[in-house]
Symmetry: C2
């Protein structure tokens, strides 16, 4: 607590006193004024110190001639617009040599050494070194002290001159420049952190290499990260992962818009279970039993029956499954598409291949920097893309010949078999992406269109990246009578799907579609080991916060 | 039931007979074969007749030499790819005069007259007239009969020659061409409709004009429409409305991406109520009490604390409110944005104005056709856009001088006052769009930043189109201590928002944002009278289906 605050409190807490001066009106007035001044000073200092727990320097000494060059800002409260221009850290380069720039960034690290201070300023994935040296002309000793006491992760405004150092600055993204600080002011101070950002951003390789040298480097466990996700998300790898996630969404949209699709939004609150079987979240809707949509399946098909022709939806999908695996979430982003076809589900596969060609190409070219940043913490090879369609029986044959002679030719593939097939396909065809189509009917939902030549197989497909499924899709049954037949055969009670069946009775276009999990695409593209790394605030059976 | 079906059933139902021929092996074999043939014929006919309730002609007579030119297709089941090319109805124009085209569309209307048939084919918002005249060279009598018996809303493939008629075809969107049919085949037959599409697409003006002539024209009520939404959505106005909805979403995204924003996805399943006060949907999450997010407010702010700098989210928003008004839904699409600011919430308003400038401009130019189609059923004037910012006290002064002398200068505006202010602003400044900022603190949420010069006012804003609110937003409190102070002042229990408060303790950028309701934007832009018109499958206190 500051002296001013102590003074203010002592006034507020004081009882009527027996001080002989108390009856002296002048003394009383002077005391009142002093108390008022102390209170105001305390209030001002409290304002400056918001969020600061330790007793650190937040304001210059009044007698420092350079006192205008440092000290905490008052709370930014839209007091006015100064017209100043802030430069982005990733825009700092040697072409700016000698120029003065203003930067708003976080204190990534600080180090004081005698009369000098070395700071690393961070802005998203970019870092730059900033220096102060007390010469009492531009920088005072007080300013150096102030700078070294700013807590890590605090947000600061720093003004300084860009200079090109003799040697590149190792450990910063902006290696060919450093900033010679002329002004430093805190915008928002950070309290003691639950973990260090440097530890959270460390690769396993770095830890292993240090261990071999006999050093122990800290890392941060998944739960501690997720409990403090707003902090964990600041690591360069996470900054890049969620830029990639945003990018995949944009490429999905722009590619489909280019193919004549239109975006729709369908309700997540629905009256019945959206698909038979899997667990749903149930709730009370104004007195009516309701549940959360497990997929937009039925609604996107209704949109096709309503003549929207080609639609996509990007929205949350809810699964009340107790699956605690590396690739399941209870809430994830579904990228769904559905389209009328003229004749064949290959029309859908043409779109799917175009879509993933665009995603693979877009990420590898436009987002090469983000991929590199992710790779610094989680090394991976950029996956290869070649359009490839294999039938399910072809896939079974490859597995049978490739070391799995007992694989069930009419059963679904488990994770092990999928991965094995992915490896074989990679080896034989040189692609991390492929489509497996014509699945056995028994392993697909009731609304899947059977093959015309053999009803034991269906007009369905899964799409794989690195041998893990990212898309499931099919031509759908668009004929109400056949749908009833299939529902009966699969034991689905008709009364639960009546309005769905009805929507095919008034002229229904042949159609097909697919559903993609956004988090899975990013996870598998980057070869990450856990889907929680690609969900901003993941939801699994054990986690509902933050 | 067809003869073939009756034959098949009688075979299936027959008991071992005492027929003297029964012991004759030849007769038995012949009977078996006959039964098999009957079953197959019945099966084939069932396939052809799927969904057809009335006894209509679905296949040509075997002796019609032109029998290849008509008749129902077998169920489209990805039998193969023919390489045929379908032309879109809206692409038909007089430049194609004399050319043969293939079209897949719906039967909008049919009319038989002697040896000829007149069809209107519809594809989304486009319609074209198609003609058949039985000359027994290209078209047979059977073909005309078949064509006139296809039920409305059935999907057909029609091949024909484009011709330019002497007079424009009134009542069709493609007025300068007609199609002389050479082939017509049903893809999917429609059952008897719950209402006529023509009635559902009729404007009130048309009904009134007919009434003045003494005619009664049918219309379709809102509930019947919504109960059969997949049908109702086929009207040209609805086709256009949801193209506009998709467009608003795309312009929102592309504008913000251009301003350096990134798309995020935050959870809809959350542990506590996302905002104090309003009603939430509650559910059980794997044994933990949970609720549905009423807004992404807290999460998008956490994304800012996590250095994402500028973010937007397009996602469902859930409000368990018993508001049965023209502008409330229990589930709607929120277009949310949140951004770090350097100094002032005007930085957010600059983005909001740029955004709505782009939306107004984009719709008026690129989507003029869709606006015209909506206007045919629901006439409206395209709204005007000029950037305009008024302070709340300025708005109050306008109301006081404009006929509302008793308006509370520190209270919120009700719908009547908002609309009145909208009219006054339109008259004085000539814009249907404006921003009202600096609302009294008491009418805003606890996390709203108070003004620096007067804490009775706040750094907040609403945005209006045609005098109705479409956006609410503010600079947020980014200081944990002040947030606690404000929560206490507003009576919010701190334990329910602790993790939210904590996220501001580790260096928080000053920031602000806004939330837009997608359905409201489209409704108010088009001057529609009910938000259910701009939600594909609306959810209100009385409606959870379809």
């Amino acid at each position: 607590m500051s002296e001013a605050e102590v003074a203010a409190l002592s006034v507020e807490d004081s009882q009527p006193s027996l001080d002989p001066d108390a009856k002296n009106p002048n003394a009383k007035k002077a005391a009142k004024e002093a108390a008022k001044a102390a209170k105001e000073a305390a209030k001002a200092e409290r304002t400056q110190q918001r969020g600061v727990k330790a007793a650190v320097m937040t304001q210059p000494d009044a007698d420092d001639p350079l006192r205008e060059q440092y000290g905490d800002y008052p709370l930014v409260q839209s007091q006015g617009q100064s017209g100043r221009v802030w430069t982005r850290v990733d825009a700092l380069n040697s072409e700016l040599n000698g120029q003065k720039v203003l930067i708003r960034g976080r204190i990534h690290t600080t180090r004081g050494k005698g009369k000098s201070a070395f700071l690393v300023l961070r802005q998203r994935t970019a870092t730059v070194q900033a220096l102060l040296f007390a010469d009492e002309q531009v920088v005072s000793k007080g300013m150096v002290k102030y700078a070294t006491q700013v807590t890590k992760e605090s947000i600061v405004d720093v003004e300084g001159i860009i200079k090109v150092p003799e040697k590149p600055v190792e450990g910063c993204s902006q290696k060919d420049v450093e900033l010679h600080v002329t002004l430093i002011r805190v915008v928002s101070r950070a309290a003691i952190l639950p973990f260090e950002l440097v530890d959270a951003g460390r690769s396993e390789e770095e830890v292993k290499a240090a261990a071999e040298r006999g050093e122990v480097l800290s890392t941060v466990g998944q739960d501690l990260r997720l409990d403090n996700r707003f902090l964990d998300l600041r690591t360069p790898a996470n900054q890049a992962i969620f830029r990639l996630q945003s990018a995949v969404g944009q490429i999905f949209k722009s590619t489909l818009l280019g193919e004549g699709f239109q975006e729709i939004h369908t309700p997540k609150l629905i009256a019945g279970a959206s698909e038979g079987g899997a667990a749903v979240f149930r709730l009370d809707y104004m007195g009516t039993p309701a549940c959360l949509a497990q997929s937009p399946q039925l609604y996107k098909q209704m949109a096709i029956c309503a003549d929207f022709d080609r639609v996509f939806e990007i929205g949350p999908v809810f699964r009340a499954e107790f699956s605690y695996t590396h690739r399941h979430l209870c809430e994830f982003m579904g990228l769904d598409l559905e389209m009328a076809i003229n004749e064949h589900y290959f029309e859908v596969l043409d779109v799917v291949e175009k879509l993933f060609g665009a995603i693979f190409d877009g990420l590898a070219t436009t987002y090469a920097k983000e991929l590199a940043v992710v790779g610094q913490q989680y090394p991976f090879e950029v996956p290869t893309f070649k359009p490839l369609r294999l039938t399910f029986p072809e896939g079974i044959a490859m597995l049978q010949q490739g070391g799995f002679p007992d694989v069930d030719p009419m059963g679904d593939l488990n994770t092990e078999l999928e991965r094995a097939l992915g490896r074989m396909v990679k080896e034989k065809y040189g692609t991390d992406f492929f489509i497996l189509h014509r699945y056995p009917s028994v392993v697909r939902p009731f609304y899947t269109m059977p093959c015309s030549d053999d009803a034991n197989y269906s007009n369905s497909y899964d799409v794989f990246i690195r041998g893990e499924e990212i898309i499931s899709g099919a031509q759908r049954v668009h004929d109400a009578d056949l749908l009833v037949e299939r529902a009966n055969a699969c034991g689905i009670p008709l009364d639960t799907i009546q309005s769905y069946i009805d929507s095919f009775k008034y002229g229904a276009p042949p159609h097909g579609g697919a559903g993609v999990g956004l988090e899975r695409v990013v996870m598998l593209y980057c070869g990450l080991n856990n889907i929680r790394k690609t969900s901003m605030f993941p939801r699994d059976p054990k986690r509902l916060t933050p």
